[in-house]
Amino acid sequence: MIDPRVKAIEERTKDVKRIIPVVSGKGGVGKSLVSATLSLILKDMGYKVGLLDLDFHGASAHIILNADISKLPEEEKGVIPPEVEGFKFMSIVFYSEDKATPLRGIEISDALIELMAITRWNTLDFLIIDMPPGMGDQLLDILRFLKRGEFVVVATPSPLTINVVQKLLSLLIEQKMKILGIIENMVRDLSTIKKIAAEKNVEYLGEVKFDPNIDRSIGRAKDILTTNFGRDIKKIAEKISRSGDY
């Protein structure tokens, strides 16, 4: 038995210049908010951007962007990801009608392969991937299928995050993946992640302050950009865009 979808995945992303999975290991650290905001900013900087939400159990990007998911994405020799806020967006919620989707390992992997095999991103400068927490199916499938991914690791100063992030970094380094760097999110006063970045010899992309008002902007993309959170992410987006001028 040969699975024909695997070849299709390569084909669907061949005109994508840079693939950036936003990972952490830990949940609730801001991966989704960072992914969506990075997408908004890179698009405003003039880049062609796609955002893929691979967190099937905790899909969030459509909520942050207030995306209309009532219509199925248009079908044309594959599926054309709909435009949301000026960039291309794909999520399982289009197909699950935003209802609970209980899936086990192999089923998660199957859904991921299916989504990646049908979605026609066409030409993109950046494909941002919002990843679930953990080192489960989605991470392993990214390591398997998107070996040229440039990982952005999101961490918070909490000791509970540090431990998990260290393990994730070790795994990515061992697997010889390219790591763009670490974002330290929800910083109140002390940074703890600079030290971790230095230890692991990974770039520290910058800190994002804890922004007590950010939840009020969720669902209003334009507003996110004017928050302190948005401004902090902007500096990081500029760094990321420069890191591509090899």
Binding site: P4, R5, K7, A8, E11, R12, Y95, E97, A100, I118
Partner: protein
Amino acid sequence: MHEWALADGILKTVLEFAEKHNAKSVKKVTIVLGELQDVELEIVEFALNEMKKGTIAQNAEFSFKEEEAIFKCRNCGYTWKLKDVENKLNGEMREDIHFVPDVVHTFISCPKCGSRDFEVVKGRGVYISEIVVED
């Protein structure tokens, strides 16, 4: 998976396989179509026949086998078929499942115990069961 994307994946997989085996040409390919995904055989066939032109698979015969969808509950062990639960699925759900078959877990549950923790034993999607090449 959408039919054209699917046909594209099938052909590329077949050509890669043939290249790996230093084959002169591809003679025959057998493709299994799972009932759950409900792809349109005619479109896949048409797309394959269009795309194979000018490749070493241009004279290949593509044949198709349809596979019934069978589910097995991981909670109580009950086994059932798609047609036993078809009345639970409206047109929109069928379409969702056509694109991403795994969302079947969103729309149906075990007819016996109600669990959504079930396995699609057979007939989920599309795969290649046989490639015959000429050296």
